[in-house]
Symmetry: C2
Subunit: 132 residues, 2 copies
């Protein structure tokens, strides 16, 4: 077996899951969204302008409700920065949302945890950028 | 030497630094704020409604500017939940801001990293709760 390529380190593995999160969001794919979150009681999710949702039951319900909205948003990610610390990692990224009309930028902080070799999302916090 | 009390585990150490963050904020104490942040290039800070600030230089400048405002806010913390994963930890908490008039709730996600035995803040993300 060849060694894995150098770019397949933990930071790239985290960024790959981070990318899957936005792909699942754009596609409104509940199965893909569910697969990349850890189904734990301590996960948290703050949608822009929302109070924080705590635990997988609340978080999954929110994605179910959001994905029932027929509007689809395209997300262009900029300024993604990843930090890995052992089995934890976090990504700071700007989400530039395009809905065909005026754009909106959301600042996001996403936290991931590694269990049994797999990185999964444990926190998503998005907040509207109201001034620049 | 007696064993340390059971309550002095890493989760409590993280919550203590988290509490110091809000004490420094309420007191507009730049030295205290500076002492509890890691002065690293990968720290990030998102004030409510702001774009994300990256690196200690930008983050410290923002606290300097914010603390020049003579208005002081009282912060009542609710729903604080801490997760520790090795040398990383994060706290999800609701900041209930009181300024003498109408209150405002900010959802916050704070990330901490342990270096040389000391927990320091490496990410703060606060977002306005616009609906309940």
């Amino acid at each position: 077996m060849d060694d894995p390529p150098a770019e397949s380190g933990p930071a790239d593995a985290v960024l790959a899951v981070n990318a899957r999160f936005y792909e699942a969001f754009e596609a409104a794919d509940l199965d893909a969204m569910s697969a990349l979150w850890e189904h734990a009681g301590d996960v948290v999710c703050t949608h822009p302008g929302w109070p924080t949702l705590r635990g997988w039951a609340q978080v999954s319900s929110s994605w179910f409700a959001i994905f029932r909205n027929p509007q689809r948003l395209q997300v262009i990610l900029t300024s993604a920065a990843v930090t890995v610390e052992g089995d934890a990692a976090w990504v700071s990224v700007d989400e530039n949302l395009l809905d065909g009309g005026a754009g909106q930028t959301v600042s996001a902080l996403n936290v991931f945890r590694r269990r049994d070799g797999a990185w999964r999302m444990v926190a998503h916090h998005g907040s509207p950028v109201l001034r620049r």
